[in-house]
């Protein structure tokens, strides 16, 4: 009986280790993409591409990097992260409103 429980728990541990490995693969992939986006962002500025697209594209690259960071490195894609998501999205909404206010409505 004890032998059987041991073998089941051993099996469960193996499954978990496999899950962690798979997660690791995703994380390394997202790291590679983040490095790539950083290179693109710096490259665009160093090569002095003068176009009104540059700033929006830079911001877009930053947002994609942060999404990778939050969802893969900080595990927000995993189960049990409804509360963190609520906190972060609440924070982000107020953050956007704050920046809009400071840059448009307030007279400095």
């Amino acid at each position: 009986m004890t032998e059987r429980t041991e073998s089941t728990s051993r099996y469960k541990i193996d499954i978990r280790k496999k899950e962690y490995k798979e997660e690791m693969v995703h994380q390394v992939t997202s790291f590679t993409l983040m490095i790539l986006f950083t290179f693109i962002a710096f490259g665009m500025v160093v090569m002095e591409i003068s176009s009104y697209f540059v700033k929006p594209v830079l911001l877009l690259l930053a947002v994609i990097q942060v999404v990778f960071q939050l969802y893969y490195f900080m595990h927000m894609k995993n189960k049990g992260h409804a509360m963190p998501a609520m906190m972060m999205f609440g924070g982000i909404v107020i953050a956007i409103v704050t920046i809009l206010t400071f840059t448009s409505i307030i007279w400095w």
């Binding site: 939050l70 906190m87 107020i94």
Partner: protein, 207 residues
């Protein structure tokens, strides 16, 4: 789960950081804090964006910023984010020594970043005479980037304190949440840096 079980390294469940009620509460509470931090940094970014054109003399973002150093700093911090992911991977597999090793590498990379930032500020002050009091742009710049640097200092002290304090204890259900939360904080520092190098340095160079 009894007190002995909590402190026994051989009894670790999977996801040791959320196995106890205390760990769960820390996890929720810390994400609440991170939501607040997002708003805090947003107000600093808003101030910076509003004051970035209020320069004095030659010290404009275009003249001051050098992208080489910022690129090195970005790579250091991004890599340190990955090494702390490795540390948490070893924590979940209950390998305390490897976790300590990867946290140590994270700390070294963070120190490298900090060294670059101190050099940068020193350079601005002594070569350009660009200080906190030079202009509204100066105040906004040093407040935003300096606040982020302060977070790096705090994060490094936090991780080092945890590593030293738990060196002989090994991993257990009492300290696993602490390590996990410190690593979340470290990732958040990188999140803020992504926006700093984009909004302050790159967009400052574009003009």
């Amino acid at each position: 789960m009894s007190h002995e079980d909590v402190l026994n390294p051989n009894q670790l469940p999977h996801d040791p950081e959320k196995a106890t009620l205390e760990g769960k509460n820390k996890f929720i509470g810390f994400w609440m804090f991170l939501g607040g931090e997002t708003v805090l940094f947003a107000s600093l970014f808003g101030t910076y964006l509003a004051l970035v054109r209020s320069t004095s003399g030659e010290n404009t973002p275009e003249n001051l910023f050098g992208l080489e150093l910022v690129f090195i700093m970005t790579m250091l911090l991004l890599t340190s984010s990955l090494t702390s992911v490795y540390a948490m991977y070893h924590m979940k597999n209950h390998d305390f020594k490897k976790m300590q090793l990867w946290l140590g590498i994270t700390v070294l990379l963070g120190l490298g970043f900090l060294g670059c930032e101190i050099y940068e500020f020193y350079h601005y002050i002594h070569e350009y005479g660009f200080t906190f009091r030079s202009s509204a742009f100066g105040s906004a710049f040093y407040t935003l980037v300096g606040f982020h640097g302060g977070h790096v200092v705090f994060g490094l002290s936090w991780i080092v304190a945890l590593m030293i304090r738990n060196q002989k204890r090994g991993l257990n259900l009492y300290n696993a949440p602490k390590f996990y939360i410190a690593s979340l904080y470290w990732h958040f520092i990188d999140v803020v840096w992504v926006f700093i190098f984009t909004v302050v340095y790159l967009m400052g160079k574009v003009g």
